[in-house]
């Protein structure tokens, strides 16, 4: 259960970070950066705490890192795939 919560928090945190990037392609207009960055960081920290609660500090850090890596390359590809199909 806590794993589902931790995963959700981490994925949402990465989504906020992606939307905060000036290169994001999900929305046609960029949203204000600062609140998104703050929200993303908070969500990632909450996710990290949840992962640590689910495992141990070292595993928690590594799990957060690897899930974040997957999200951060998957999100741009998801956007690119949508653009490419609509072209």
């Amino acid at each position: 259960m806590i794993v589902v919560l931790a995963l959700t928090l981490t994925v949402l945190g990465c989504a906020c970070l992606y939307l905060a990037s000036p290169n994001q392609k999900w929305l046609s207009q960029n949203l204000p950066r600062k609140p998104l960055l703050a929200a993303g960081s908070l969500l990632l920290v909450a996710g990290l705490i949840a992962w640590i609660a689910a495992f141990l500090p070292l595993s928690g850090i590594f799990v957060t890192l690897h899930v974040a890596m997957v999200c951060l390359f998957a999100f741009p590809y998801a956007a690119a795939l949508r653009d490419w199909r609509s072209n």
Partner: protein, 548 residues
């Protein structure tokens, strides 16, 4: 900011290290992504057997006694008692014995399993288990080149991979903040491939750095070990290792018999003394002896650490903890080393990490594939300014090699997985056939790609990949519908998961085949990815040869 000349030189370094090891790394990463599901694949490929459930844990002590009575030689090697009931565990207990072998040849092992017949007597049989998962792992580690050259080759490749990572980072640093997470789809193909390559490379950089370091250390493991021995320790390493080895091995048998605790009792003693340890199997050494020991193989909950090594050992007579090598009790250096090990193999964090590494593995394979495409695309621009529509031979050859090697590996692995069910029982040595099938498909695909060129063969081979991969779930469905075929369909979530993932993978390959076919017909004609150019070429061919 970084000087332009440094960036320029590092671009050259990145290009050539990348091109020279990209294809080997594709195979290593694709097969490596599959090894994340090594256990489900092994379970999928294992034929139905008596299984662990046939002998309840309460009857296991009786089974062990019958086994050592009938096979006394099994005591020394150790008898494995399985606890989980997975399909690749043929029975409650298994063990290995030395095969008959010739003087001077390496020792080969044969595998035995044993269960209880309904009347309570022993049924034991020598049967070789499916080594499909081990074969995929061997392809992952040595891209199919025999030992020891495969290891040396991958050592060089991993070293260059590390250099390419550093070089790529230096090249990207000036534009890193501006282009981070950008993936611009459009008519500028070079820009698009560059973005596609960079997004994957930059975001997954920590993962790749760990992979490069660990792969270099392991592939050169033997030579580095010898170098350490002669340069650093001056012959002392072996002596200390031998002394230290006692921490891992079972005590020597005394020759006096004693009463063994039952496996159930031993498990209770384990949980009482080491509460957070989750055992997969118990290995009994010197069963029946006063010094008999049982090693529990498994992982300590929550720790980053690999499970195959270490573990804890109890006395099989008293149930007391005699050897303790679990993660939380390791010395700091061993702890660091197991952590690095597990960061490569993903042995922590449960199913989340298995899936994350699976995707990261594919993203790595994609990184090397797109790197090669980028090289081809860059060369194409250059060629265009010089001569009209004439693609240099190097890009045509690299295009063919990329298509043949990458797709050949994908199709070969899928088909060799399928063969586990189709060939079971009809060939004598199925484990050898796994290798034959893989190499035949792989080498055939490479030859096909060079014969037909990158554009045409990419479509053919992508359809081959889709067909080979869809055969995995289709085989299971056929086994379910026609039991007369002699195949099997396991019902566990893990094995159904293999079928589902293969089905989705096959859809992806089919989609890629359709997209590639469209590009081959309608894409820019001055590309190695177009057959329109190829048609024009036939007329010019003699001229081209003369020019070369």
């Amino acid at each position: 900011m970084i000087r332009a000349d440094i960036v320029k030189h590092y671009k050259t370094v990145h290009t050539w290290t990348g091109i020279s090891c990209g294809l080997a790394l594709f195979i290593a990463f694709y097969a490596g992504a599959l090894t994340m599901f090594q256990e489900p694949i092994a379970r999928w490929a294992s034929p139905p057997a008596a299984g662990v459930a046939a002998v309840p844990l309460d009857d296991a002590d009786r089974l062990l006694e019958l086994v050592v009575a009938a096979h006394p030689e099994a005591r020394k090697e150790g008898i494995t008692l399985h606890l989980r009931g997975h399909e690749n565990e043929p029975a409650r207990v298994t063990w290995e014995e030395d095969a008959a072998h010739q003087e001077g040849q390496p020792h080969e092992h044969v595998h035995w399993w044993a269960t209880l017949k309904p009347d309570g007597t022993l049924l034991s049989k020598q049967e070789e288990p499916s080594e499909l998962a081990e074969f995929i792992n061997a392809i992952h580690m040595r891209v199919g080149i025999p030992e020891p050259w495969g290891s040396y080759f991958m050592g060089v490749v991993s070293l260059l991979y590390g250099v390419a990572l550093i070089a790529g980072m230096i090249v990207l640093l000036p534009s890193l903040t501006k282009d981070f997470l950008a993936l611009r789809v459009g008519h500028n193909l070079k820009r698009m491939w560059l973005d596609a390559h960079n997004v994957v490379g930059v975001t997954a950089l920590p993962f790749h750095l760990v992979m490069a370091v660990t792969a270099t250390a392991w592939s050169f493991g033997g030579p580095l070990w010898s170098a350490q021995e002669s340069v650093i320790f001056g012959g002392r390493q072996k002596v200390v290792m031998k002394r230290d080895f006692e921490r891992w091995t079972a005590p020597n048998p005394t020759g006096d018999a004693d009463v063994m605790m039952s496996p159930g009792q031993l498990l209770q003693r384990l949980h009482a003394q080491v509460p957070d340890f989750e055992p997969k199997v118990m290995i009994f050494k010197n069963f029946g002896d006063k010094a008999a020991a049982v090693r529990f193989v498994g992982a300590e909950r929550g720790y980053v650490g690999h499970t195959s090594f270490g573990g804890v050992m109890l006395s099989a007579v008293t149930g007391n903890l005699i050897k303790d090598n679990r993660a939380s009790r390791q010395d700091p250096d061993r702890r660091a080393s197991t952590t690095i090990f597990a960061l490569h193999t993903g042995e922590y964090g449960g199913i989340t990490i298995t899936w994350a590494y699976f995707f990261l593995g594919f993203s790595g394979a994609w990184l090397f594939y797109s790197g090669n495409l980028l090289w081809v695309e860059t060369r194409r621009k250059k060629a265009r300014k010089g001569r009209e529509d004439e693609q240099p031979r190097s890009t045509r050859l690299l295009g063919s090699a990329t298509v043949g090697v990458c797709l050949g590996c994908v199709a070969g692995l899928s088909l060799t997985i399928v063969a586990a069910k189709w060939l079971h029982g009809s060939v004598a040595d199925l484990n050898a056939w796994h290798a034959y099938i893989y190499y035949a498909v792989f080498l055939g695909s490479v030859a096909w790609a060079f014969a037909w060129g990158a554009a045409r063969s990419a479509v053919h081979l992508l359809w081959l990949c889709a067909a080979a991969t869809i055969s995995i779930p289709l085989t299971t469905v056929l086994a379910l519908l026609f039991p007369a075929l002699g195949m099997w369909a396991h019902g566990s979530a893990a094995t159904i998961g293999v079928d589902v993932v293969a089905f989705i993978g096959a859809l992806c390959f089919a989609w890629m085949a359709i997209a590639t076919a469209r590009r081959v017909r309608h894409g820019p004609a001055d590309s190695i990815w177009s057959i329109r150019k190829g048609d024009d070429h036939t007329a010019h061919e003699p001229v081209a040869i003369a020019a070369e």
